[in-house]
């Protein structure tokens, strides 16, 4: 038996891989949302009169960034 067939024959009984996958998927969006919100706060502090427009754009940015983390949740349930 070579190593490929051995690897195929091995069945893992390891539970909780979905949670590990979600943990990995949450790293990137976490950093991303941090950057989005942080930069918006910087912008608001420099130019308070733009705050309303910046807030709308911030929610849009959060929505796009967060999508990856949510896909991470869903794939944990599917696969």
């Amino acid at each position: 038996m070579d190593i490929v067939t051995l690897a195929q024959a091995t069945e893992t009984s390891f539970k909780g891989l979905g949670a590990v996958g979600y943990g990995l998927a949450a790293i990137g969006p976490g950093i991303g949302i941090g950057i989005v919100v942080g930069k918006t706060i910087e912008g608001m502090a420099r130019q308070p009169e733009m705050a309303g427009q910046l807030r709308t754009t911030m929610f849009l940015g959060i929505a796009f960034t967060e999508a990856l983390a949510l896909i991470g949740i869903v794939t944990g349930f599917i696969f």
């Binding site: 709308t56 929610f59 849009l60 959060i62 929505a63 967060e66 999508a67 949510l70 896909i71 949740i73």
Partner: protein, 227 residues
């Protein structure tokens, strides 16, 4: 299914009561509905689409906003417990409505094939790059938009529901142990209440984001020629 019909009835009755015999000078419950509608008009449709076209698409955006909001609310109502949006059906229907509307908006302005062409082709690129860019633009515009709309709403409500269920059932489990573990239940009940409050924020925010993204997609297809 029952919760969906119930919440749809609640929306219909609220707006019927609020707008029945609407007067120029609002009184009583009409104030509340007008403030709610004005919020959608000012912060979503006028802000994103602009005054002229915003009024044209205000009805569909307001419908989507209030339907999403009221479908989200059962997530924190004891007895109803789960939001209909935590199942795939309801977000899928609403995302498909948005899909049809933003294609309609572009097709009305440019003609259907011209609209698809304009939104897929990025002008002023080197010719060889079109091979790469056209499929990416097509997938991101016509496949990923409704898919991410659906998954965002569903996964948010589902994750909130699972967190609340886990915390409250952990409270129940630890409390009835009647030994040292009972102390843990006081921690989990506090965290559960905190998550319920967070869920209230998420309920509003997701409805806002859903309507906001619908407005953004309509606006993008109204300006399909300027990338």
């Amino acid at each position: 299914m029952i919760i969906r019909v119930l919440m749809a009835l609640v929306v219909a009755v609220l707006f019927y009561v609020g707008m029945r015999g609407a007067k120029v000078v609002p009184k009583g419950f009409q104030n509340v509905t007008e403030i709610a509608l004005d919020f959608v008009k000012t912060y979503i449709s006028d802000d994103i689409i602009g005054k002229k076209d915003g009024d044209r698409f205000l009805p569909i955006i307001a419908t989507i906003f209030f339907l999403t909001l009221f479908m989200n609310i059962p997530a924190v109502i004891p007895g109803l417990n789960i939001s209909p949006n935590a199942r795939i059906g309801m977000p899928l229907v609403m995302a498909l409505i948005v899909y049809v509307v933003f294609i309609y908006a572009g097709a009305k302005k440019y003609g259907f094939f011209s609209f698809v062409g304009k939104s897929v082709v990025v002008p002023n690129l080197p010719p060889a790059l079109h091979l790469l860019v056209i499929p990416i633009e097509f997938i991101s515009t016509f496949v990923l938009r409704p898919a991410t709309l659906t998954i965002r709403l569903m996964a948010n409500m589902l994750a909130g529901h699972i967190m609340i269920v886990l915390l409250f059932s952990a409270t129940n489990f630890f409390f009835w142990q009647f030994n040292g573990w009972t102390a843990v239940s006081f921690v989990t009940i506090i965290v559960a209440i905190a998550f319920t409050l967070f869920e209230l924020l998420v309920i509003f925010l997701q409805a806002y984001i859903f309507a906001l993204l619908a407005a953004v997609y309509i606006d993008l297809s109204l300006h399909a020629d300027s990338h």
